[in-house]
């Protein structure tokens, strides 16, 4: 099971955080800070795995990847394979790259909703359900279309219609 997915920049500002088990927000913030403090102390060109039992409880592993100004972090337990998780990080990154053509931190900052759409296609309730970025793209585009469609119906402000109804 995947326990959490995080993206944060190299200053420690979280850009995306998803915890697959319920956790109060204070705890979430504490974990994000904890993970960052470990990550930022690691030199370049070392392994991408971390023992993280102290933060996430026993049998927790963390794999991260450093992209330009961003850390992409996955926290998972013993029923996942470390190298496979490392590959998995590539999937959302690839997908985002396709979405925004050369994704950068700003894209991620301003497309919070899309980020979640991408991630939700890949990780479902902590399980990896999709590893092909083409499939993810397809679903995300469908979702965007649906959202746009539901908005276009409401070009006439809905509150006006509600107001008229009174």
């Amino acid at each position: 099971m995947i326990k959490a997915v995080m993206m944060m920049n190299t200053q420690g500002k979280p850009r995306l955080a998803k915890f697959y088990n319920y956790m109060p927000v204070e705890k979430q913030q504490e974990l994000i800070r904890g993970v960052f403090s470990v990550l930022c102390s690691r030199p370049e060109n070392v392994s991408n795995f971390l023992e993280i039992d102290s933060l996430f409880g026993p049998d927790s592993r963390l794999v991260y990847k450093h992209y330009a100004t961003l850390y992409f972090v996955l926290v998972f337990d013993g029923s996942e394979n470390e190298l496979a998780m490392l590959d998995l990080i590539q999937v959302p990154v690839e997908t985002l790259d396709k979405c925004f053509s050369n994704v950068c931190e700003l894209d991620i900052v301003f497309n919070y909703s899309k980020m979640h759409a991408v991630l939700d296609e890949i990780v479902f309730g902590g399980q990896v359900l999709e590893t092909s970025s083409a499939e993810v793209m397809k679903a995300v585009e469908e979702i965007s279309k649906l959202e746009a469609a539901s908005n276009s119906i409401s070009l006439v402000p809905k509150s006006v219609s509600g107001w008229r109804g009174r």
Binding site: F49, Y112, F124, A139
Partner: protein
């Protein structure tokens, strides 16, 4: 009217999430101010009836909650409102907010059941997907129970997009509502034969989680999984299947033989490192009895170790540490790589290498490995340095210093550790120095030498982390002063002015040790006098008399030095230091007059002789190690309730309680006081002294008579009742090594290991709480596993076209039928893969089946054997 007009205004001028993010980046208010402004806005907007405004507000709120830790539990009801919107965009925002913020205790959770059901039945697969995602994250018992039919329907969906998510959600549904297994299990299992890799991957993932929780319940699926293992070429699927088999093999060892070959096949064939690693891990953790497979796995580990990729190196070391307990040869083969990894720049790799080295340690190589590690400790960063020191300390002290033969060496090593600049493990070293002193009689001379070197080292006093070590060194020098070469110098070291840097508690130890040294010197001076006068060949043999030929002048000098050193301390603020100082000074006052007046002190009637003899006896009592379970060995007397909750005692006898309490306090005070008196009295009697404190002892004797059962049998008085619980260190040592003080100049392999006092079970660190928690988790999963087992029964029975599962007898019949079925299956398999000797395996499986049916358990099938 007015409310709706504000709602229009809100809607028209509402800031979207994007505006919020932009604003956030441009704000000058400071983060927390900006957030509280935005929250004010959100609170206003979210109350508006218009769903569009509401959903935008909710979206902003969930953004702030996820990334800025803002509480959003207050908006739970609004999330329920938004999710009921017919528009997809609103729905998505609503579901996102719900998955993010809802938990078991959220009260409005009850309100979403119908909405989720509606969306699960939606024709739009993306709406279905939203609802499934929500269920998989926040599904409770009630939700799972109410929505099981919908999930069942979706499991049969023709759209892979929906089906894979329905499979994923099953895990949560089973976990929360085990009865759902009966409904959904068959459909779930069918997917194991799916040709769609996505579906297969999803279902294998679910079974991997189920097998992690309860391997036994998934055992009957072994044939299907085996097929996947052999046929699939999808690495994701194979990794999960391997994980499942690793779990299954732990409950059914015979599976190992069957799966070893295909796993090796994958290991040889694949180029995907992730799959290779999973194969390695499966082999070394679950199939470690299969020689050939382990050999191949270790060869693959070696490939990982020589890679440049730090990830592979790390994982290779990781795998080695799994294999180490059973196949140490694998680690020894790769010893160079492991040692080299110690200087890797990656802290993970270093740490893993350290653990491996420690796994290799035994009594033959502990010297070499410790030397290597000490060199690394000297040049590594503080964190890793202390990790090394800690590893060495714990490996060497394991099981009462099991692997240490040469204690002189080990004690010196402890002294060296104190001199490593980054050393912060003072407390552990302190503990071991004292522990060895008490347990290993033969190590004491060296211990005293090392302590002496530590005490006079000026660099150590300034290091806060090393103070505990100095405390131990001071204690050792006082307690085992008879091995000290130059007591005079020891006293000087103990009272040097720089001891002012020490915390008071440790200073007190220093002063008390000086006291011990003084008493020892006086005593040996008197004895020497005595023996020269009376020529009586006393058993006063040891090093002291010959080495420390005290003259009258040297004794006088010693007393003066101590007095000089302590007088300034008698006015110190710390009570402990002051008390110790006063004790010593008081003692000096008692002896000094006699000492300065008379030269012939051999007269046993003098005050100084008597006092010294008395103190000598007090200090000479040997301290032994105390079993960690000592307290448990005192059996609780009948009628004494230890676990009774006394919370309501105050209510019952509120008035009477207080005086009783104060009484009892003074009573115990008296007792502890008299206990200490009694001990002194015992000593005095032994040394034929006068003036026993009659009053106190009689009080104590009376107390003892009345409450005898609470007293621990005292060592000195009645060794019979000891029950060998606390063997005296020196008794044991005397029995076994007749010449304990034989100087050993060159420590060799031939050197005999000295006696280490070991208390039977008490020394082992045990962890019953962990075992307990294991049992608890098992209990948690029990209902689920039982459900799966019965579902499997139903499934198998379904194949046999049988009905009526209820009565006990029926069950038995059914299980025997399943056996038949299994046997036929087995035969089929055998035809397919002629592997095992037919007759023997048949016989084996029969026997197994008989056992299984006899115990009325769900049968573990022999498909594979």
């Amino acid at each position: 009217m007015s409310s709706s007009s504000t709602s229009i205004m809100d809607n028209l001028f509402q800031r979207s999430l994007e505006d919020l993010i932009k604003g956030f980046r441009l704000q000058l208010l400071g983060e927390s101010n900006f957030i509280s402004r935005a929250l004010e806005e959100i609170r206003r907007e979210i109350k508006v009836t218009d769903l569009s405004t509401k959903s935008t507000a909710l979206h902003k709120l969930s953004y702030l909650a996820a990334l800025h830790g803002v509480d959003m539990s207050w908006a739970a009801f609004h999330a329920v409102e938004v999710v009921s919107s017919p528009r997809f965009q609103h729905k998505r925002i609503g579901y996102q907010a719900i998955t993010q913020s809802f938990h078991e205790q959220t009260s409005v959770l009850l309100l979403i059941t119908n909405q989720v059901r509606k969306d699960l039945n939606s024709a739009n697969e993306y709406e279905v997907s939203l609802a499934l995602e929500c269920l998989s994250r926040i599904g409770t018992h009630d939700l799972a129970r109410d929505l099981t039919p919908e999930v069942f329907t979706l499991l049969g969906s023709s759209k892979a997009f929906v089906k894979k998510k329905a499979i994923g959600v099953v895990l949560r549904v089973f976990e929360k509502y085990p009865d759902a297994v009966k409904v959904c299990f068959k459909r779930l299992v069918e997917n194991l034969e799916s040709s769609d890799p996505q579906i297969l991957s999803a279902v294998v993932g679910v079974f991997c989680e189920l097998a992690t929780r309860d391997p036994g319940s998934c055992l009957p699926l072994a044939p299907e999984l085996y097929k996947v293992l052999v046929d699939s070429r999808n690495n994701w699927v194979l990794i999960k299947v391997l994980k499942i088999f690793a779990k299954l093999a732990s409950v059914e060892p015979r599976l190992g033989k069957k799966v070893a070959e295909p796993i090796c096949e994958h290991m040889r064939r694949t180029v995907a490192k992730s799959l290779v690693f999973e194969c390695i891990r499966t082999v070394v953790s679950s199939l470690s009895d299969h020689e050939a497979a382990v050999k191949l796995a270790v060869a693959k580990i070696r490939e990982f170790l020589v890679e440049d990729d730090p990830n592979l190196k790390y994982l290779g070391l990781n795998a080695l540490s799994i294999v180490a307990p059973k196949h140490l040869w694998a680690v020894l083969e790769n010893k160079e790589a492991v040692v080299k990894a110690l200087s890797d720049e990656d802290p993970n790799v270093k740490l893993e290498a350290l653990h491996l080295l420690m796994a290799m340690v035994n009594e033959d190589n502990v010297l070499d490995i410790s030397r290597i590690l000490m060199n690394y400790a000297l040049k590594s960063d503080p964190l890793f340095c202390n990790e090394i020191i800690f590893s060495v300390l714990s490996a060497c002290s394991r099981n009462a210093y099991e692997i240490i033969v040469d204690f002189d060496w080990y004690v010196s090593l402890l002294g060296e550790m104190a001199r490593i600049p980054h050393c912060q493990r003072g407390e552990e070293i302190e503990h071991q120095l004292i522990d060895i002193g008490m347990r290993v009689r033969d190590a004491r001379p060296q211990l005293v030498r090392v302590s002496w070197a530590l005490l006079i080292d000026p660099a150590l006093l300034g290091n806060l982390f090393l103070h505990p070590i100095l405390s131990a060194a001071a204690w050792v020098s006082g307690e085992y002063v008879e091995f000290c070469k130059n007591p005079y110098e020891t006293v000087e070291a103990l009272l040097q002015p720089r001891t002012g840097l020490l915390p008071p508690s440790i200073r007190a130890v220093y002063i008390h040790s000086a006291f011990k040294v003084l008493v020892f010197c006086l005593r040996s001076y008197f004895s020497a006098e005595e023996s020269t006068l009376s020529f009586s060949a006393q058993e006063f043999s040891s090093a002291s008399s010959s080495m420390n030929a005290f003259t009258y002048e040297s004794i006088l000098n010693l007393v003066n030095v101590i007095e000089l050193g302590l007088v300034p301390l008698s006015g110190t603020h710390d009570v402990e230091v002051q008390e110790r100082t006063k004790n010593v000074l008081g003692f000096i006052v008692m002896i000094k007059q006699d000492l300065s007046e008379k030269l012939n002190l051999q007269d046993s009637e003098t005050e100084v002789f008597r006092v010294t003899a008395f103190m000598e006896d007090v200090f000479s009592e040997e301290l032994g190690p105390v079993s960690a379970t000592a307290q448990e060995k005192v059996c609780v007397p009948g009628g004494l309730e230890l676990k009774e909750n006394l919370g309501d005692l105050e209510e019952i006898c509120g008035e009477f309680l207080k005086p009783v309490e104060s009484d009892s306090v003074s009573y115990t005070d008296k007792i502890s006081f008299s206990v200490s008196k009694l001990r002194i009295r015992g000593q005095q009697e032994a040394s034929s002294s006068t003036s026993p404190p009659h009053e106190a002892s009689s009080l104590l004797a009376e107390h003892r008579k009345r409450h005898g059962m609470y007293y621990l049998p005292s060592q000195k008085d009645d060794p019979e009742s000891n029950g060998n619980d606390y063997p005296l260190a020196n008794e044991l040592a005397n029995e076994i090594s007749p010449d304990p003080f034989n100087p050993k100049k060159n420590p060799n392999k031939s050197k005999q290991r000295p006696v280490v006092v070991k208390l039977e079970e008490g020394d082992e660190s045990r962890n019953p709480p962990q075992a307990k928690s294991n049992i608890e988790t098992v209990n948690d999963d029990e209902s689920l596993s039982r459900a799966i087992q019965s579902a499997l029964l139903v499934k198998n029975k379904g194949k046999e076209k049988d009905t009526n599962p209820n009565s006990e007898q029926q069950k038995q019949e059914e299980s025997s039928r399943i056996e038949d079925h299994q046997n036929s299956e087995k035969k089929k398999k055998k035809k397919k893969k002629k592997k095992n000797g037919e007759s023997s395996s048949k016989h084996k499986s029969r026997g197994r089946n008989e056992v299984a049916s006899a115990s009325e358990q769900v049968i573990i099938p022999d498909y594979l054997l």
